[in-house]
């Protein structure tokens, strides 16, 4: 069996599972995001009384943090009342940040766990060797009532990364390149495992970016086998109680792919789909009205460090604005302590509260018709960040910072 199958088998209280069968799994963490009050509505429509285990339920106020409309505020109010009534103590209020980053910061994300959150980028937790998957509100409500959810055991694609990373090339460039080659629906219903020697070059932060973006190939879940980098990270966060499952040597992957990263330069996904990927140089010089650094994909401390290194002592030119959205309050605090925020503010950037912000076009940095944004986020669909005729280019945090510096899409490698 694959490690992911072993996790599902453990959760389903079965000796073994195989691809294609439907299993009913116990859920270790059930996370609800603030934009899905429907979850609570569905819970009561199903005549739920008490949630299955208040300790395993986490409410994340991330997409609307802090609220921009009365309706959002009212949804938060109702969620707080629900938490109180149900004895849910893990309520991540508007000061906390994006769910996936908080899962890492608080140590909820760890090897062998079955994690379900009402956010499509829950694949992120594969970076820790967990089974993480996103679901809708009613699926999550089913977990709240029964403690379980059904899954079809996915086929697994292995993507081995080989070669040497060039200067200015990060996990975000690698995953954009892969999505550009495989396309947005390649991994629908399947799991994607990342493997190969290049992973040794990637910190947990970079690995989270890889696994996060596997959603944009349609993946149900994502996986990186825990290694010494994972163990060191967990030890630093005081997490010791976890089980690492290992894939059997004779496991047969549905597909076994290899990508040599040596020839990859900085990449961008051009409007209006994540798989519309090119070498950055094809769009170099394109004016950007907004440079957006943030999100569960590209808003962590190392991302702010790169941006601060590029913009230190420089000024963002008139005609371009830069928005900083730290992924969590822990990230914000660390970036403040290390001086990255100050450096970026001195360069002319604007800082917003930790959260999802404009990544999905809710608030804090929407773009107008005809405007162009270079963004370290994960989606560039029409209207994703405001006007449907606003254009979003996705790139690495380094690309975002270098592009902010010049007011146009810029290869970051010459500034590193």
């Amino acid at each position: 069996m694959h490690a992911l199958e072993k996790i599902l088998a453990r959760s389903a209280e079965r000796k073994s599972v195989h691809a294609g069968e439907i299993v009913n799994c116990k859920i270790d963490i059930a996370g609800i995001n603030d934009l899905y009050y429907q979850t609570v509505k569905s819970f009561y429509e199903m005549e739920g009384e008490k949630v299955y285990d208040p300790e395993k339920v986490i409410l994340f106020f991330d997409h609307y943090a802090p609220c921009a409309t009365e309706k959002q505020a009212d949804n938060h109010r109702k969620f707080r009342a629900f938490a109180k009534e149900q004895g849910i103590t893990h309520l991540m209020d508007i000061n906390e940040g994006v769910c996936h980053q908080l899962m890492a910061d608080y140590g909820f994300s760890k090897p062998g766990e079955t994690i379900v959150i009402t956010d499509s980028h829950t694949t992120t937790h594969g970076a820790f060797g967990a089974f993480g998957t996103g679901v809708g509100a009613t699926d999550l409500a089913t977990i709240l009532v029964t403690g379980k959810l059904w899954f079809k055991v996915p086929e697994i694609i292995r993507i081995r990364l080989t070669g040497t990373l060039q200067k200015g090339v990060y996990a975000k460039d690698v995953i954009l390149h892969i999505i550009g080659k495989l396309k947005a629906d390649h991994a629908v219903y399947k799991a994607v495992e990342f493997a190969g020697p290049v992973l040794k070059e990637f910190s947990l932060s970079e690995r989270m970016a890889l696994c996060n973006m596997s959603t944009e190939m349609g993946a149900k879940t994502s996986y990186i086998e825990p290694d010494e980098i994972t163990e060191t990270y967990l030890a630093e966060h005081g997490i010791t109680d976890y089980t690492v499952y290992r894939t059997d040597d004779d496991f047969q992957y549905a597909e076994d792919l290899a990508f040599d990263v040596t020839d990859i330069g900085p990449q961008v996904a051009a409007p209006f789909s994540v798989d519309n990927v090119s070498d950055l140089k094809q769009y170099a010089g394109t004016h950007v009205d907004q440079a957006y650094l943030g999100s569960c994909t590209g808003g962590r401390t190392p991302d702010f460090k790169i941006a601060a290194d590029i913009l230190k002592g420089k000024k963002i030119p008139a005609g371009t604005r830069m928005i900083l959205v730290p992924a969590s309050r822990f990230v914000l605090r660390e970036c403040m302590e290390k001086g990255y925020i100050r450096t970026l503010l001195d360069a002319g950037a604007a800082l917003t509260a930790p959260g999802c912000a404009a990544c999905l076009g809710i608030h804090q940095g929407l773009i107008a018709e005809g405007e162009t944004c270079i963004s370290s986020t994960n989606r560039n669909f029409p209207g994703r960040m405001g006007n449907v005729k606003g254009r979003i280019f996705l790139g690495s945090p380094a690309t975002v910072a270098a592009s902010a510096l010049n007011g146009e899409i810029t290869d970051p490698s010459e500034y590193l």
């Binding site: 899905y36 009050y37 429509e45 959002q72 947005a184 629906d185 219903y189």
Partner: protein
């Protein structure tokens, strides 16, 4: 669940994401009557909710409903009365959401190129046969699998869980 759906087809392309089906700015709405008004409002048919008649059918290419987990994308299509959503493939969360709400999400490879906007389409849920009544062309949907068919037949997952809850409660309250 009815054994068939018949209605006018509205046809969409590949990779129609949930931001097109239901833009993020309306996700704060929680009442079905409000959610209904914004169906496909970020797509090539922004005023679909005004034209769409109960029983009409959505036809799309590959990866329909990719992107966000927002159940609003499925709720809005349920509330405008979609008789079925037929696509060459689905984004996985959208697919689960649709089945959970009792919307027949039917997978049929290669169909989008053959059905024109405005054609009358009939779907037989038992046999999986899809007929374009305007052209006479027939297509065979992929089998759905018993587990998902069972959820659909129950009218979605909510009635199933509700029934389970009631049984449990009755057990508890037995003298």
């Amino acid at each position: 669940m009815e054994s068939f759906a018949e209605g006018t087809a509205y046809v969409f392309g590949n990779n129609v994401d949930t931001d097109q089906i239901y833009p993020g700015k309306y996700v704060e709405l929680t009442e079905p009557e409000e959610i209904k008004k914004h169906a496909m409002s970020g797509s090539s048919e922004p005023d679909l909710s005004e034209k769409f008649k109960a029983g009409d059918i959505i036809v799309a290419g590959t990866n329909f409903g990719c992107g966000s987990s927002r159940e609003h994308a499925a709720i809005t299509l349920k509330e405008i009365g979609a008789g079925a959503v037929i696509a060459e493939s689905f984004g996985r969360i959208f697919f689960r959401n649709a089945i959970n709400l009792g919307i027949p999400a039917i997978t049929c490879k290669g169909i989008a190129a053959f059905i024109r906007r405005g054609d009358r389409v009939r779907v037989d849920f038992t046999s999986g046969e899809i007929t374009d009544l305007s052209t006479g062309k027939k297509f065979q949907a992929e089998p759905m699998g018993d587990y998902m068919m069972n959820i659909l037949k129950s009218g979605g997952i909510k009635p199933m869980i509700r029934e389970m809850q009631r049984k449990k409660k009755a057990e508890r309250e037995k003298p």
